[in-house]
Symmetry: C3
């Protein structure tokens, strides 16, 4: 019980979905190897193979987690030569397992070295150490989430150090994804990527409110997407919007999002993750 | 461990879905604030913004729960002036945290004051006390499930009393939804709302078997929906129905449901939640 | 706490889905009856009423589980005369609750006697004992997952023996599903059922690599489905395949699967579970 409280949880984020037993078996293996570990599903609903979407979801999540170990698997390159890694974050002198009573967020992230972990590592203060996990034996019959990542996470949760589970690699050698597009022009426009459309249709942009301030934008902004431009208000709450209105709002991750009140802004505007929109200061074009 | 057993669980019901990390982060925050708390997902699959569907699912669930704290979030009015509340149910003299060994269902429900909690409160014996939670600081970056409801539930689970988390309000002032339509005519007909279509296509009605008895209905009933009428048998089990037959059956919540054997009655009949059907005693029209 | 570690977990697999509260209420009842039990969702995403798909998913899962009790419910015959059973697997002399420190997989499976449990029982070493659970009281208002299977699993987890929860039945009397089609001809062809299409579109066959060896197949195989035939390579990893290529690969369950690299082989080929394909040795036809 001391362990449960002080070791924290094992957090899972994958693209395994909910229809198959992939996520369930991964959970079960964690518990088999680390009985008593609290297992927390962050989500298994990352779109299949979408490393970028998974990396964004993970980065949005980790600032709010308690202590523990994060396992993230979105891994189109499984069984290729991509590395599998465990990465320690935060102050390098800290042991993996925090001392009793210590708090703070996750100490180690485990997953494929394909960029999935990068932005979460940044959000947790950067990588202080990393190891490459030994590859599973060649040949058929393996499933990295079940056979590699879950058991490694269990060992770390039980008190293993990074050096016990792999071979040191330079944290600077970890694969990084290209950052989302965010370009500010002096003329007062911001070209910015839609990074996420959530269940409610809110379309999160790579920009933060400070990016709009720097571009001199006021209470209204012209939003261009494809050939269309819509003038929208910046609001502080969904309820400030009329029924048929799209607005810009700072969202729960500190990003700017295009939103509607009780409707899907993404459907109204026809935007998807990866689309680029241009925000223009009113009167700047 | 005493706490785990005697304090019960923290139950979550939301419209956050499974594709995003909303539910996972909410779970993680509960565990961060109340390490060791068993977190039970009732469902996160309530249709987006559908307070009525969430309120019905919650009311169907709570009679079967053990002790603990319920967090329910279907909250189209987030960041408007709707209140956030915690509501104690059952005998007013009971403390929030039951004594060791005490059983019984949940003691406190936490969520937006938009009607979501009302029918569950009724099912648990009514509200004996309520508090309004302090609003989150104005401005961007908040997410009530993560930043308000989960932390409050954790504090209550750890032993806080209602007065520690908010300001008393009159339980009678809590917002109530309009009850589902259920009108019985002396001539032997029951006009009744379809309140739920489940995954299997069973269409639950707001009526209970006793409503049909009171209207004098026998072993067969004429069911009118839109311009169509179908004569159906009342059965005690799916297997009593022929392959192409719709029946009326008392379901696991004590409601009358329109059902088929191994097929979706809702698809066969073309009905959805919110539709109204008319049940008529055979020979009454 | 001794109990948590030594008694293992309670594993759930159902077709209840995630939209309704069925799975959540079942989880909650387990915890209400067995506070402290770790509850592990294997999946609730089995297609509605699809006993065969559920039986396959369960059989794929159980080899990787730690100790505990498995509850599986895909039950189109609920409230008919099908039996409900609890089945002990493995060496018959073992008590349900393993001794402290004992490991190994699940000891008991609980569910409807409709074939759902059969292949999982095989995978766990066969049934050493079985009991029929008492039927719920006749009449409306019951839900076997909530009212029968979950409470029985909780009692078993707490230490009850099989004889405490039902009446002995002959394990050989348990209902068995027809095995997936797998026919090898001496001429070098294998007629085989597609048993599963996973989230990523991999199409698992009932065959294992040894079946292909026995038919004398080499590095390439002709795959016939409907009127079409495709020549495919046997590969050891997704990444060996070209962008537009289908391959045969041994999958994580030791089966042969038709796969693509980062695309859905099932969509490319137009195959679904239950379809039959014919694998032919190159030059054999």
């Amino acid at each position: 019980v001391v362990g449960r409280v002080t070791r924290g949880a094992i957090f899972l984020l994958t693209d395994y979905g909910y229809g198959d037993e992939f996520a369930g078996v991964t959970r079960a293996v964690v518990l088999r190897e680390a009985p008593g570990a609290p297992v927390v599903d962050l989500t298994h609903g990352v779109p299949p193979f979408d490393v970028r979407a998974g990396a964004l979801a993970l980065a949005r999540s980790v600032p709010f987690l308690g202590p523990g170990i994060v396992v993230a698997v979105v891994d189109p390159g499984v069984a290729s030569d991509r590395r599998a890694v465990a990465v320690r974050v935060g102050a390098g002198a800290h042991p993996v397992t925090p001392a009793p009573g210590a708090d703070g967020g996750p100490r180690v992230l485990v997953g494929p070295d394909n960029g999935l972990l990068g932005w979460a590592i940044d959000a947790l203060g950067g990588a202080s150490a990393a190891v490459a996990l030994p590859a599973l034996p060649a040949g058929p019959g393996s499933f990295d989430g079940r056979d590699l990542f879950a058991p490694v996470a269990a060992r770390l949760w039980l008190g293993a150090e990074l050096a016990d589970v792999g071979s040191p690699v330079d944290p600077d050698s970890l694969v990084r994804l290209a950052p989302p597009l965010l370009t500010t022009s002096p003329a007062g426009s911001v070209e910015v990527e839609v990074v996420w459309v959530d269940r409610f249709g809110n379309a999160q942009l790579a920009a933060r409110p400070s990016d709009l301030e720097r571009a001199g934008m006021g209470a209204e902004v012209d939003v261009g997407f494809g050939p269309a431009t819509v003038r929208v208000r910046r609001v502080g709450a969904f309820a400030e919007l009329d029924d048929t209105e799209v607005g810009l709002m700072a969202d729960a991750n500190g990003h700017v999002a295009m939103v509607c009140d009780r409707r899907s802004a993404a459907t109204v505007l026809g935007v998807r993750p990866g689309d680029v929109v241009i925000l223009r200061r009113v009167g700047s074009s």
